[in-house]
């Protein structure tokens, strides 16, 4: 009886009327209600006029063949893009009241699904042939959809795999990589050895694998990364002793740690010395400082060592890595005493104002087992001749400047020269 257009107008009029009544009752006859009622009346008049004249009935006065009318065109095919677009809008809304990155994700979803929806709608009007329209859409969209979709899918899989790896322990990580590589090789070999295998079968295997990785990644991602223990370092012990001497002394009195500075102590400190030899990250391109069995310290630079060297020379302000090798029979640490620092920072007043009572600048390795090695990284911001007049108690008797030394081994001294 009524055409689709008429039904729409009748429904709209009914909703408008209902809204007007609700608003009018709620607002108690204010000016807005009058305006809204006027608009509703106008809409109802239009609806009545349309129903009487049947203007929205394409068949009524249309002389053209039925198949040429708009109403006779194929109905739009099903599309997921409006749903995606609406989802994007929701994500944006959620992001606006939560976190900014969520807004960005929503905008990306909006743009992507909006573009797809636009292309989809445009292609459906290309012709009355649905198959042709689908080809038109594919020709335009696929060159973008495939690479972007592939990259996104790959990114999700890689991200999922990374979550898995981060949740596993060191050994299990190695195993996981081995298993993953083995699976890839085996599956690849199986697929390659059966050239007649259908694309559906291959795709299914890949999809199952991808879903498994993403699912495992999601689970492990929610569980969080593995606990990575943070151990106290020698630097922390050194700073603790210098900055909080009273608490440090109290801890030593309670037997929690040895007394004295860690860099001047041959004793083992909890945690800092427990994991010796596990942090050597470099094996070449560095100086080596060697503690011999007889208790002497010597250095071995990359390349030939200069004949007649009186100490190890490094450039000023240059990050220097030294590998300490303990060839003695005892657990030992290598320490470096860079003298006592200046106590003022203003240049003009700083000149010559060294405070001999100030705490030393020291850095040291952990206790290294016999035959072990450890890396010591340091930087000397000042030249050693700046400390010519400042005695260094960790050097030989009467020495000044910078010195490597080994706590507990009086004969192990090596001068560090910074020109």
């Amino acid at each position: 009886m009524f055409t689709t257009g008429s039904k729409f107008l009748i429904g709209a009029s009914a909703v408008a009327l209902l809204a007007t009544v609700i608003y009018g009752v709620g607002q108690d006859g204010v000016l807005g209600t009058i305006g809204l009622a006027s608009a509703t009346v106008g809409l109802m008049a239009l609806t009545a006029l349309n129903a009487i004249l049947r203007d929205s009935n394409v068949f009524l006065d249309d002389d053209a063949p039925v198949e040429n009318t708009a109403a006779a065109q194929p109905a739009p095919t099903g599309s997921v893009w409006p749903f995606g677009f609406a989802s994007g809008a929701v994500v944006v809304a959620v992001g606006l009241v939560s976190y900014q990155p969520v807004v960005v994700i929503g905008v990306v979803v909006l743009l992507a699904t909006g573009a797809e929806w636009t292309v989809h709608a445009w292609a459906e009007r290309a012709s009355s042939d649905g198959v042709h329209n689908a080809k038109v859409r594919s020709r335009l969209s696929n060159p973008l959809e495939y690479p972007i979709g592939g990259a996104v899918a790959l990114g999700i899989i890689i991200y999922g795999f990374s979550r898995i790896i981060l949740s596993l322990g060191k050994t299990n990580t190695t195993v996981a990589f081995f298993v993953a590589a083995t699976v890839v090789v085996v599956v690849g070999f199986m697929i390659a050895s059966r050239p007649k295998l259908g694309s559906a079968a291959v795709g299914s295997v890949m999809a199952v694998g991808a879903i498994a990785v993403v699912a495992a990644g999601t689970v492990t991602g929610i569980r969080g990364e593995r606990d990575i223990a943070e151990f106290e370092t020698t630097t922390i012990w050194q700073e603790e002793a210098l900055l909080h001497p009273e608490e440090y002394a109290a801890g030593a009195a309670e037997g929690k740690h040895p007394a004295g500075l860690i860099c001047e102590s041959p004793e083992e400190f909890p945690e800092a010395d427990e994991r010796a030899s596990e942090t050597v990250g470099m094996k070449s391109g560095t100086y080596q400082v060697l503690l011999s069995e007889s208790g002497t310290l010597d250095f071995d630079p990359p390349g030939e060592k200069e004949a007649g060297a009186v100490g190890m020379v490094i450039p000023r302000s240059s990050t220097t890595n030294v590998i300490f090798r303990n060839d003695s029979d005892e657990h030992r640490r290598l320490s470096l005493d860079l003298g006592r620092p200046y106590t003022v920072t203003d240049y003009e007043s700083e000149i010559g104002n060294l405070d001999e009572s100030a705490p030393p600048t020291q850095i040291c390795t952990t206790l290294i087992e016999p035959g072990g090695a450890q890396l010591l990284t340091f930087k000397a911001g000042e030249p050693s001749f700046a400390y010519e007049s400042i005695p260094n108690p960790n050097g030989p008797p009467g020495a000044d400047g910078f010195w490597f030394f080994v706590p507990g081994v009086d004969t192990a001294k090596l001068e560090l020269i910074v020109p």
Binding site: P301, G303, E306, G308, V313, S318
Partner: protein, 430 residues
Amino acid sequence: MSARTDVANHEGTRERAARATTSLKTVTTRTQGARLAKVGGVVVLTGLIAGCAKNAPQDTFQPRGTNAERINDLALPVFYIAGVVGVIVLGVIAWTVMRYRDRGQPIPVQTHGKPALEIALTILPALILIGVAIPTVGTVMALNDTDDTECVVNVTGQQWWWEFDYPVQDGCMPGGITEPIVTSGQMAIPVDTNVLIRGTSRDVIHSFWIPRLNGKRDMVPGRVHNLRMQANEPGLYAGQCAEFCGLSHANMRMEVAALTQDGFNRWAANQLEAYESPVEGTVAADGESAFVTNCSSCHQVNGLEAADGNPIISRPDVGVYPGAAPNLTNLMTRTDFAGASWSLLREECRKEVWEAEPDQFTDRYLEGVTDDCFNEVDLREWLRNAPAKKPMYADPTKLAETGGLYRGMPYLALSEDQIDLLLAYLLERK
């Protein structure tokens, strides 16, 4: 004339016209070919002429040291072999393209595989590569050998200059080096001596390269890389940082001054001479005060003392991101400054040094920067506004990433009077 004759005449005319067109095309093609040949000839000739520059201080094909000669002896034959292979390959491709170009002929029968040819085309390049690899590996190993070095120099790269320090050692000269020497921009070495360079960097990766003496070596923060260097004859050898290292990478130059052994001894002795303050009452003496006030916080001058007699120690790590600034103790014993980018010598004096005969070079170089030869202009401009002369990260409003520390020398807002004083003082740093 019959209709048949008319037709025959008409066809004959068409044939003649076709032949004429073909002939015209041939002539046109020949003319175009000749023109292309001329243009190509000019391009090739220009390239050849450009490669014949007489003054090419960074020409790796003019080696002046054993190591550079080794590289050259390897590179040239490889270049020739690669050139011959390249010409053959390109020639075959060109011939194939021309011979089998599309003329509308039917597609020939497709065949799959030609084992004999494929094996031959695999073995031949493999043999060539093996032939190249053997001397290459030998040369690389020879270049990395440091057993025969007799003198050690620590080289440190920093945005955008090079520092050279000579550790205490028995080598380099009779009697050895008794105190560390620090200089920058120009590295002095004794001629005919294998020098071991121990290189590192304070900030980013740099690459040390003196093309006429040896190949490149990356200088990496936290690591020490070795490079052997030796010069056959006295002279100045120019180099350039060969790893992009930031804003003024192009201005990070360096030079090696190869001196006779006696000349190197004199150079080293001069570097270790005790500091002498300028004579009181002179402009240079006032300049010393100006230097202490404006420059000594970053630039070290060994021996410079404060009024109380204590040594003045620079602390460039407080204001400069990489943590160092050039040591200016003997500035005027080198011939350039600011990453060897500007000369301390006037042009004619600079030419005298660079173009000195090997037997005269050492004496001329050791004269240093004399009053007559001093290029005041560039150094004055540098002191007036260093960032304007050399691009550096020296804008105090844009140092957030480095915690307020400069990369390079900042603008010091020195007055012209202060600059006069500093120039007088620096001119005495010999």
